[in-house]
Amino acid sequence: MPDSLLSLEGLTKRYAVTVLDDVDFDLQGGEIHALLGSNGAGKSTLCRIIAGLTPPTSGSMRLDGQVYSPSGKQEAEHSGVQIVQQELCLIPTLSVAENMMLSRMPQRLGIIKQGELRQQARIALDRVELGEIDPDLPAGKLGVGRQQLVEIATALDRQCRILILDEPTSSLSGGEAENLFRWLDRLRDEGIGIIYISHRLDEVAQLADRVTILRDGRHVCTQYTEGLSTDEMVGLMTGESPAQHSAESFRSYRTDRVALRAENFSHDQVVRNVSFHVHEGERFGIAGLVGAGRSELLRLVFGADSADSGSLRLGDSGSPLRFNHPHEAVDAGLAMVTEDRKSNGLLLPLSIRFNASIASLASRFSRGGLVRRRAENETVSDVAHQLDLRCRDLEQATVTLSGGNQQKVAIAKWLVRKADIFFFDEPTRGIDVASRRRIYRLIESLAAEGKAIVIVSSDLDELLETCDRIAVMSAGRMVATFSRGDWSVDRIMQAAFSEHMGKTA
Amino acid sequence: SSNKQDASVTAASDTDKPTVALIMKSLANDFFSTMEAGAKAHHQAHADEYDLLTNGIKDESDLGRQVALVDEMVAAGVDAIVIAPADSRALVPALRKAIQAGVVVVNIDNRLDAEILQQEEVSIPFVGPDNQVGAKKVGDFLAGKLSQGDKVAVLEGKPTAFNGVQRKLGFESAMQDAGIEIVSSQSADWETNKANTIAASMLSEHPEIKAILAANDSMALGAVAAVKSAGRSGDVVIVGFDNIPAVQELIRERRVLATADQHGDQLAVYGIETALEILGNRDAAPADVETPVDLITVESFAE
């Protein structure tokens, strides 16, 4: 075996509990090394240690055979380690260009060279085919998917020897992801070591040379990807024998009663005259490229943004109405798991219990204005159990949860609430395979109860697996709707690109 | 009262009528609001003789604002400024500039520092009472009710305020003459609530004190409340300075022994009259006018 580029020995990290326990790991130059594990296994923590963002409790690291113990991120970057983190960390008030160049602004005597700044950002963006992003735009104005792409573009732009990508594709659709993979292949050929975390195992199978699997903070094994099936990966991650999920067959619970009918929703150029309907018991998927306007559509229907036009009907005979504030939607029985849990899904510094019960306090846990603590605790711990939430206790602050577990808390909030119509915007973003199954089953059982469900996802496989129908949005229009049975990946992708084809042609 | 409102807004509109600007300290203070009311009453009676602009500052230590007011009044084209300076030194240069711009300046209430006036080479007539004499009168009256060797405490005004220092000196000399010891002397910044806190502490630290001398009536009010909540009403005597209406009632109720009246309502009037006189006869050498300070006790209300 050739000398490792990076090797870790006996790495341990303790917070209140031990999250990494005596982990060994090595990375070669010119390989893509995937890190796998269920939510909370410690993958992000391991990467954060390598990137100098947090110090290990014990253990040693070697880079090129030299002892390596970065005191901070800057020192890690100096040694050639770059990271794209799981949680978005752009600064919304600064422009895209400033964000990309933050720690290496082109300057003379502290004065920013504006032209050069813009130009360098432009080049970095163009390189990963993000020509449509204006580098002068405040980063906060970009959607989640775009923000993730900007972060990736930033990391790719920088000279490095080790590149760490922590769930880079969680908000990306097929096209952008493919583009990213091409880039990673090229970097691998240049001899750069890449650590890649993803819960999309087919991606891993396609891309990675080796995988290392963590379970509950312990190193389980490191293997060559070749000859390792995704089912085997799941088995190693969970410690159970490979599941037989692929054998599971789809079952529809769709009824004839329409639960919600949205008509002619428009907003600026982002959503253009979109209509759709969803039946009780139906799972309705919406696919599309990043920025296609799917999230915005859900927000408009939910009353989170005010639409230029559009109306909706609840049930078969309801009169047309429009929600002006999410509380009207929620009162009418709608629920929405938002895409950006950090900015509008969760109250990060507060406890799991607080987050899970907030939407249902008045309707379920209040007596005379007082909170019924007992009932609250019981219900929340039931739902937490149902979702297999990994946490110390329900009082733990949600910030300290792993990304996937945070997502589960965001879902838990609406399960506790018991709505009739569920909007899921990227419901499994950052969730591990096993939990993802659990969430699919959960969505299925919601459907079985006759709930109407709308799922927006950038992971097409997810939609193919769970939905009765899939609609496709492209550049703000809903261009096609397919029913189970008459769809194919090709036709869906074609539809997703259709509006862009029209423009360039 | 709508008349009153109108009077306050009359700006300099007639060119043959002089405009007098009255610049006071804090109008939130009873003393100055009385002063303003007196000035406005006088103006109403003599509305054909002059126009009046009255201005005050946020609190008694807002020097910067008072200096700015002098500038602004000069800019507004007034003919005379009657000022109760918030500080006896800091206002002199600004007033000198006003005089150089041809404005007549009269100093009321708080005397400008003679040394600085000399340095700046201006002379400004002073119209007002002698605070030290007034405080001495109050102190002497109090001393008559106490016996030699008794202990008392003093609530001072803001240490930077000239009249506060004068009053403190007046109290001190009265106590010294009578052989009474001041066991504690602290500033309560002219404020009722602060005086309440400090007087309460004085009473628990020095249970033996027989009297509290407050450098203004607002602080006397705080001291009265402190004495009451310490359960020592009737046992600790309080005196103040300024004769505000609230304290007049307390004197009637015999919860305050005495205060001093420097006739705030007339003070500005004297100043305005002096200013008008000078405007009428620019060549006359302006002379200082000492206004009376009277001791107020329960006997003052007897008739």
Partner: protein
Amino acid sequence: MKRTDAVRAAVQYAGLVGVLMILILIFGFASENFLKAATFVSIANQIPDLTLIAVGMTLVLVIGGIDLSVGSTLALSAAVLGVLMADRGWSLWASIPCCVLTGAACGLFNGAVSVLARIPSFIVTLGMLEIARGATKVVTQSQTKYIGSSVEIVSEPIAGILLSPAFLIALAAVLGGQFLLSRTVFGRYCIAIGTNEEAVRMSGIRSAPYSITVFVLCGALCGLAGLTYTSKLSTADPNAAIGIELSAIAACVIGGTSLMGGRGNVISSFLGVLIIAVLQTGLAQIGMTDPMKQIITGGVIVVAVLLDAARMRWSDRKR
């Protein structure tokens, strides 16, 4: 469960209680008369106003707002009380509701304008600070209104328990405020709003009514504070409580309330009030000169928060 709750509470308040004890000990050594009942009666007499305001301020800070107008609102309520009682000859019981309603009205203005027009409460309440003070002077014609004994009963010790109604009102406000914040749906919403208003909105909760109510509550508490303040001095003072907003915010922040919203504890704010009151009384009692009083007060405020921060970090590490 109960047991650990109590332990957790004890640890939570340990830092502030420690600071308070240290101060009392120091003053006890420095002045032979400090550790006597009279001192504590005098402190108990001083704090109701600041306590009431600190309770309201804590709530406002929790939702991510700020109320700079508390002092002026207090003064305006007191002025209304003073005019009604001294000039119109109303009874205390008839005047109290007017006094509290005046405060609540100021709070309603603050809340409605800042929440509905979505402008920072800092600026609305700064405006209110000027407006209510001006109105106070109009109402009282800038004269201190002497009311006399009819209002004093509120701050006179109740026979037998040595505590005044004012103190009991303040204590009730502290306990009620803490209960509101930690045990009611309303309190939960307040904390949530202060943490992330957008997330609250997306959870289907209208935040505006809650935010406005908090400002109204704060205003009403200022009205009550106007009552206790007036009864303490037997006079309605148009210059009452100038600058009290900074003391109140200081008490809250000493007690660990965040200015960014989402975090606050009314009992800790009360401990903050006690620290400030003990410091003021103690320094006056040892007869410190004015400049030294200020320097020491400033120093102690910083040190108290430093110690509390250090303790929190230490106990976080231990867990």
